[in-house]
Symmetry: C3
Subunit: 139 residues, 3 copies
């Protein structure tokens, strides 16, 4: 069984955002899968997806602080600068974290650990609405 769905996420501020329920609320098809795999793929190069702690919001704030220190704006060696100082760092952050996630499905549910959630990592100041392609495969 294959299912594929394009999901338009609500626009987010720059930072790290928990989107587990924004995604799963649009996937009643999950219930029909006993064993399978969900892939979430983001169709952008300045925003990314990762899995991390779903409880304490300061974790997401600390991610934003650390990645800003990690991949600073206005490095003298940046040449791709026409779209603003937040653009080239956004590309680098996006590749460090990755464009897609694979999450096992078991008994109709995402089989993540109890402290895990899906993050949308918005690396632009004004990224707007982001599009993800969700692909479900299983039996």
């Amino acid at each position: 069984m294959w299912q594929q769905k394009k999901i338009q996420l609500t626009p987010k501020n720059r930072g790290f955002h928990l989107i587990t329920t924004e995604i799963t609320a649009q996937l009643p098809e999950l219930n029909d899968i006993n064993i399978g795999m969900m892939n979430i793929f983001i169709q952008h190069t300045s925003a990314s997806l990762t899995i991390n702690e779903n409880a304490d919001p300061t974790v997401r704030d600390n991610f934003e602080s650390h990645f800003n220190k990690f991949v600073p704006e206005n490095e003298p060696y940046y040449r791709h600068t026409l779209e603003g100082s937040d653009d080239m760092p956004a590309h680098i952050k996006s590749s460090l974290l990755g464009s897609s996630l694979n999450i096992p499905i078991s008994n109709g549910q995402l089989n993540m650990g109890i402290w895990q959630g899906v993050y949308l990592c918005e690396h632009r100041n004004h990224g707007g609405s982001r599009t993800v392609i969700v692909t479900l495969n299983g039996e």
Copy 2:
């Protein structure tokens, strides 16, 4: 053909550990797959999975040194600090390396390069036993 298995890894010290055989020893089902995909998913946010060099143990040591420099403890901007100074860096390292791996299966075996192995990256001082969900899919 779908197969899914929860595997409890033996506890590891903080650092990078080769776990290829600890995983495959529990997967006789691999032999039945001619073409397919294996997903290993770790159900934690302070340990991660990656693929790297399987021969020289100093590579794993150098990873530990580099990630500790890369993502230091006790950064002044960390707010998520209640679980100890190794906790917030562990979350960040875990997202940099990732929560899951996809490895192609060919003729009943993992089709990695001869120098590749699966690492468990334990980012906590006392992480205990870690749980991974292995999903096999193929024909």
Copy 3:
């Protein structure tokens, strides 16, 4: 439907290279898949794969500059040094970016965003030809 193919990439200089068409030109089978998933897996530990901006070549140059600053050669704590000063950084960069990509297939085509392309990230000075295993699965 499963298909698997070993693709030998042309040797690349150290740096980040757009290889979307080098890969898809060898995959006429894509056309037969309505919904599915493509996995590209690189069988090396000193080169990696990522998805990023496919238009401006300075983005790829800026990636190379940033990763060289990020993961410098000749760090005093490197012990795995016999294969040259570019080797240990290559291992670390490779795990930061990752060994495999999953890209959704829709209506016979890779369903990436219009600005996305597949990069081969060559982290060695003389990496030679790299091997990837492409696995297609879909209906």
